[in-house]
Symmetry: C2
Subunit: 192 residues, 2 copies
DNA sequence: GGTAGTAGCCATACAGTGTATGGCTGGTAG
DNA sequence: CTACCAGCCATACACTGTATGGCTACTACC
């Protein structure tokens, strides 16, 4: 394997994705260009294509890398209401770490086919909340989109842009409590 | 005013925005380029700049045009639960007409500072639901993000991509009923 | 009526993008 | 020793947004 003329060692997928993630975090997805990434790595732009199919594949891998770092809370036996609050909080913290990437993922969710362990944890909690099996998928989907949109908006500084409301913590609290109350009520799952 | 060499009449903002909206609806925001738009209008690309500041201003105007067509239901005296369902449904129908643009607006809400009449209608309904004045802004914000994310996802064919759930109508129904129940419960607005 | 001003349009050019193509080099398998 | 090929790179193409400057024909004013 011939290594680079201007670098000591060959490129690794790891450093490519890490560096790309850094660029995205710093300037948004639109600030990530193959040329900038290459310069950052001290390498010719075309060299990247020996490790990555194309730019969309690169971003998908970067997204996967970020998602893999989502810290999911374990089942601690506490009531489902509390576990749901904790899960939402964890998702929020995670989103604040990569706001630009979150915004991209929201618009291109194909990048993550299976949401790592997120779906499993959420399903368990929803079952505990009494959501019937036939509505589990739909409900999980809805809740992920709800929370995802909200934390992405907050991370992108887009909260309060429509209404002037400014206290993000309060908005998030209201959001979570609305969901908890709605689930507890269970009216959405009544047999027709 | 010298009119075009290759067109009979001067460009109008109207036809520019209409055509741009058509392009966006057809191929997404990324399919809208100044050159394509110009060709579509039978005009030189640079001619557009006499009517539009730059591309982001163009998109903002296109978004405004689309938003102005949102059909908001009037107060018909029915219970707030019902009015909220109708409002959500109207938003959904509207979003399905311009899915690509919705996705863009969700990621760049700065394009619409004041959501036309949407905020007013929503505020009225929330007041009727008993949401205290100090939480009105936050709650409205949260709900708009909730519903907006969901219908954008549906319009973009991104629903079911995370969980495999496929019945969009059912997902939407669950979403709305969760919100209605949550508001009715009112636990989110209890004094600390 | 003549003239200055300008609205509208266009040609050219520049810096940037993703990536297809093909060639070089040096380590490794047979 | 030879063939192969992983890794890297130089060049090139089509595309993007838009800065600059020039042309033309209409309007406003003297």
């Amino acid at each position: 394997m011939a290594n680079s003329a201007r670098r000591g060692e060959p490129l690794t997928p790891g450093e490519i994705y890490e560096t790309a993630l850094r660029l995205v975090d710093a300037g948004g997805v639109e600030a990530l260009s193959m040329r900038k990434l290459a310069t950052e790595l001290g390498v010719n732009p075309m060299s990247l294509y020996h490790h990555v199919d194309d730019k969309t594949a690169l971003i998908r891998e970067v997204a996967r890398l970020a998602v893999s770092r989502l810290q999911l809370p374990a089942d601690d036996g506490s009531p489902w209401q509390e576990q749901l609050r904790v899960l939402a909080g964890a998702y929020r913290v995670y989103a604040m770490r990569h706001p630009a990437l979150m915004s991209y993922i929201d618009a291109h969710p194909a990048v993550i086919q299976a949401d790592s362990g997120m779906m499993a944890v959420l399903s368990r909690i929803l079952r505990a909340a009494g959501v019937p099996e036939r509505d589990l998928g739909h409900t999980a989907e809805v809740l992920i989109w709800f929370v995802s949109a909200l934390v992405t908006a907050e991370g992108g500084g887009m909260l309060g842009m429509r209404t002037g409301a400014v206290d993000a913590d309060r908005s998030f609290e209201i959001a979570v409590e609305l969901i908890v109350d709605g689930l507890a009520q269970g009216g959405a799952f009544k047999r027709p």
